[in-house]
């Protein structure tokens, strides 16, 4: 298990937990990011990250991305 920001482009993950306060959890859940959901990293650099959630693309600031705890999927 690791923080999303350590993931590499093209890798797939399952969200395990969100480590943040209520507003962070809510915002992410509203976008469809919550424990159990599978996502893929499209682009990751020193700044914001772009992930794919099914057909949707979501841009996440680094700060909030770091609060998403994920597990690598093989």
């Amino acid at each position: 298990m690791m923080s999303l920001i350590f993931g590499r482009e093209g890798e797939e993950f399952e969200v395990k937990a969100i480590e943040g306060g209520r507003s962070v959890i809510l915002r992410l859940q509203e976008m469809g990011i919550y424990p159990g959901v599978k996502l893929r990293i499209i682009s990751s650099s020193n700044g914001p990250i772009i992930i794919a959630l099914g057909n949707t693309r979501i841009a996440l600031g680094r700060g909030i991305a770091s609060k998403i705890v994920v597990k690598e999927m093989n």
Partner: protein, 672 residues
């Protein structure tokens, strides 16, 4: 032609709700034919759109609610949507969803069903799922208990079915949805339900209790105000007990159960037709380039540069025609034999004043055309993404950058573009600092003075003025963030959906362009008109003096101001008058000097006699910062919906302009 008398048409009120990027505006336009009345929700900067359509013997009013993902009370958009549904009680709520992304889009529908609202599920973007996902509509209608209509807003498919569903559902009151939240939570709900007596709240009890458990501040407050404080307290104690015992956060649990319910419905109603090979789509490939750390900024700069060049080249051509038109109009009126007062009122006042602002219109139209294109194609979200880190350092979200760039063209559409910024605080901040971005109307003032005093360094001086504007904007943003309570707080973190790139329809772009430009004309136009009349009154009376000369009211006002302007280096009445006229539209400053000194040709001779290079610079600084033009003031009022913030903006910029001009002049004196 309809043969319906007044008695035959029945009225219906419909609200449209849905996630951002679900194609809600396209559906709104398809239903109402683009005849929308656009305003603000009272007291806030959120846009409110209303339209209507006639179908069979119904007259339907459609209200477009802000795009939201949920109905908590956390963001202003959600509060507005929720309040409208629950307090205005529309007859039907249409929940518009992106059929390619149902898992998340249905969350909002579930909330509406829990609220017990009369809902229709609209599966939009059906053109995108063809051949990829199969949806069993009848099964879905059965499981959800409401009509489900499939549409493709962009291809105009299914709109009639939607209208049919709207008129046929209005009399049905569906049972509120009850999701099983697990024994522990259900028991807690029952327990609280028994304790709560009759509530005057418009929400149903179950929804209220769920909201209490999710610590929704607005609902908790309402319940407390009805005397149930003890119940709230015990509910909160019970909630923390549960959280400790089972190790889960109640709110997260509730949301997860809702998603679980959605998943089970989707399993029964949808089928993927092709194997989901998560390949990179074309959108992703484009994004790799467009959102690249370095290339992304270059590409953004390129797009903005192209947009501006085209705006001012094309806009400029038409602007000249409009200018000529108004001049011609003025001459015609002058030649008509009517009373002197009336003639002056129309020619000097109305035509002169309004004409110089209408000259903006081509620029605004073209600018909005390009921006609407960039937005509809999906690029703007990427631009906000690319600029986010830089803007963060200033204390603003990435989207503000676009608004600031627009300000270099004209502050009016720039401030209007702040509408797309999700958080209210960020929106307000962006609006407040925008007037410091040096718009094109200030350019004639700079050019006039630099061609007299700074011929060799014209470019450098111009650049320094633009830079000064940016610096003041940035510093003001930081200042406001730190000192003003309602603007305090961290910048909202970037969590933004990047919609797939799509080829926009020409109709769509034109509708968006017209919507924005029309607003400039309507509202800003009324304030400009009033301002123009006031300035005309001051310049015309007393009649014994020539229009705008020393003896008139405005000349006297200039005289009163002159001692105040002395520390900034231009303490003579003509400067005061020019600055007052500049409030209508900043380029009028040059024309005013021309009028006061007997013709613009005389200016190169007279200016050096009244100004020094230093005082010319401080005058330009004053022109840059001192007060937004009246069109901008009008738009600030319109976008903030608040007199308080508008007055604040005026006062702040006058003070900043005044003090900065004095600062430059006085410090400059020390060196010269």
């Amino acid at each position: 032609m309809e043969n319906s008398g007044i008695l035959m048409t029945k009225k219906l009120r419909v609200a449209l709700i849905g996630n951002p990027n679900s194609g809600k505006s396209t559906i709104f336009n398809a239903l109402t034919g683009g005849n929308a009345h656009v305003g603000n929700w009272p007291g806030v900067t959120v846009e409110k759109k209303e339209g209507r359509f006639k179908y069979k013997d119904f007259d339907v009013i459609v209200t477009d609610l802000p795009g939201t993902y949920s109905l908590t009370s956390y963001s202003i958009d959600e509060r507005i949507a929720r309040d409208f549904i629950v307090k205005e009680l529309p007859d039907v709520v249409v929940c518009i969803t992106d059929a390619t992304n149902l898992a998340r889009n249905l969350y909002l529908l579930i909330l509406l069903r829990e609220l017990g609202v009369n809902t229709i599920l609209n599966l939009n973007m059906s053109d995108m799922i063809e051949g990829k996902i199969e949806i069993n509509i009848e099964k879905m209608e059965e499981l959800l208990g409401i009509p489900v209509v499939m549409t493709s807003g962009i291809k105009n498919i299914g709109i009639k079915d939607l209208k049919e569903a709207i008129i046929s559902v209005k009399n049905i009151k569906p049972e509120p949805l009850k999701i099983n939240y697990g024994t522990d939570i259900e028991e807690t709900i029952k327990h609280i339900e028994q304790q709560l007596g009759k509530l005057s709240s418009p929400y149903n009890k179950r929804f209220i209790i769920l909201s209490i458990l999710q610590e929704d501040p607005q609902i908790i407050n309402e319940v407390k105000n009805e005397g149930f404080e003890k119940v709230i307290e015990s509910a909160q104690i019970k909630a923390s007990q549960l959280e400790k015992e089972f190790g889960f956060d109640l709110e997260t649990e509730i949301i997860e159960k809702r998603y679980g319910f959605i998943q089970s419905i989707l399993k029964q109603c949808t089928k993927r037709l092709i194997s989901v090979e998560e390949k990179l789509t074309i959108s992703d490939k484009i994004d790799k380039i467009v959102t690249n750390k370095y290339l992304g900024i270059l590409i953004f700069a390129l797009f903005m540069w192209i947009t501006f060049q085209l705006t001012f080249k094309i806009g400029g051509i038409f602007a000249d025609y409009i200018d000529q038109f108004f001049t011609w109009l003025g001459e015609i009126v002058r030649s008509i034999k009517i009373s002197h007062i009336f003639s002056s009122l129309i020619v000097d006042g109305v035509i002169g004043g309004i004409g110089s602002v209408f000259v903006f219109l081509p620029n605004i139209l073209v600018l909005f055309l390009f921006l609407s294109f960039l937005e509809d194609v999906g690029y703007m979200a990427r631009a906000a993404f690319v600029m986010d880190k830089i803007m963060h350092a200033i204390g603003l979200p990435g989207r503000s950058f676009i608004s600031m760039i627009l300000g270099f063209g004209c502050n009016v559409p720039a401030i209007m573009s702040a509408r797309t910024i999700p958080e209210e605080k960020d929106r307000l901040l962006t609006i407040l600092i925008n007037p410091f971005m040096s718009c094109t109307a200030r350019l004639p003032v700079y050019i006039m003075f630099t061609s007299v005093f700074f011929v060799k360094n014209q470019g450098l001086i111009l650049l320094s003025l633009y830079a000064l504007g940016i610096i003041v904007a940035i510093l003001s943003a930081k200042l406001f963030r730190v000192t003003i309570p309602s603007l305090k707080g961290k910048i909202s973190p970037l969590v933004m959906e990047l919609p797939p790139y799509r080829l926009p329809t020409i109709k769509g772009i034109l509708i968006h362009t017209w919507e924005r430009s029309r607003e400039f004309l309507k509202k800003a136009g009324t304030i400009i008109f009033l301002g123009v009349i006031v300035v005309w009154l001051l310049s015309f009376f007393p009649q014994s003096y020539e229009y705008g000369s020393e003896g008139t009211l405005i000349g006297r006002l200039g005289h009163i101001l002159s001692p105040l302007l002395k520390p900034a280096g231009f303490g003579f009445w003509q400067a005061g008058v020019a600055l007052i006229f500049g409030i209508i539209a900043k380029e009028i400053v040059v024309g005013t000097f021309g009028t006061l000194f007997g013709g613009e040709e005389n200016l190169p001779n007279i200016i050096p006699r009244l100004f020094t290079p230093l005082s010319a610079f401080s005058f330009m600084v004053m022109s840059l910062l001192y007060i937004p033009c009246i069109a901008t003031i009008g738009v600030i009022y319109r976008e903030t919906g608040s007199i308080k913030w508008t007055l604040f903006s005026l006062t702040y910029s006058i003070i900043v302009g005044y003090l900065t001009a004095i600062l430059f002049y006085q410090i400059g004196l020390l060196f010269i």
